[in-house]
Symmetry: C2
Subunit: 159 residues, 2 copies
């Protein structure tokens, strides 16, 4: 049941605990922020400069969901597109630590913090990925932990 | 320091533990799925029908981040735009329970599961919101728990 789409990619056995993946930077323009917010998070402090100035954020800031989406995209480019991923299981402990303002540049790193073979499905492993997302001043803006299913190359080898 | 943008909205004191907010339905067309995935989650099983058929998902399925974004949008329309929200703090325990396939309709409900006054900032409260997102067959596709900051009307009343 080899899946030709992912046969040549890194499999679970190729991943290493503590491995760190650098994420490419992304600059959030005003248009990116308001376009995303209009579709998914249309609150005044993501859409309107004056309302944003009067809010806790202190100025126009991206939807936290957009910060997450751009971080996910960077991880796809740097890592998920190169491994035999079967999909995400979920997230835990997402924290928005500081607002991402217009023209801020976010980047960061993702660390493999856990590698676990599935007991019930020996052809899969679960990789846990810790995001550390920062702005151009190296201030942390978001952390989160993603659990992703990855195919094993040798499912017959005991977990 | 009254913020005119949110002065007339529901404040922390108006929210009730156990209150349930119904989310409007959203149908994920093929174009919505591939457009979102091309921008934020460009993995084969979100973009290409044949690759998706060979994947664990069994067919073209939305990015889990898109399912979350649409659920957030529905919560903004039904609730967050009506309260004096100061922004999200983060979320925990996001779980993708089943894939959302082309033309599936998602909807669901959000329940206020915790209301807590901030000890350090008495003019804010923290509302915890539990999402229960289901498809048109009433199968649960996603759960998550969001923590949101809300202004108090009477900060001088002890927490």
């Amino acid at each position: 049941m080899t899946n030709p789409v992912i046969a040549n990619r890194l499999h679970f056995e190729d991943l290493r605990l503590g491995e760190t993946i650098a994420l490419a930077p992304s600059t959030l323009t005003r248009e990116m922020i308001t376009t995303f917010a209009a579709e998914f998070d249309p609150l005044p402090f993501h859409l309107d400069e004056e309302a944003a100035r009067q809010s806790l954020l202190g100025g126009l800031a991206s939807s936290g969901w957009q910060t997450g989406a751009l971080s996910l995209r960077a991880l796809v480019d740097a890592f998920l597109s190169k491994i035999a991923s079967a999909g995400g299981l979920g997230f835990s402990d997402l924290k928005w630590k500081a607002p991402v303002m217009v023209n801020d540049t976010i980047s960061g790193a993702v660390t493999i913090s856990e590698l676990r073979r599935s007991q019930s499905h020996p052809h899969w492993g679960i990789v846990t990925l810790d995001f550390d997302i920062r702005n151009q001043k190296n201030k942390q803006v978001m952390t989160m932990r993603l659990a992703n299913l990855v195919e094993c190359r040798n499912p017959e080898v005991a977990a």
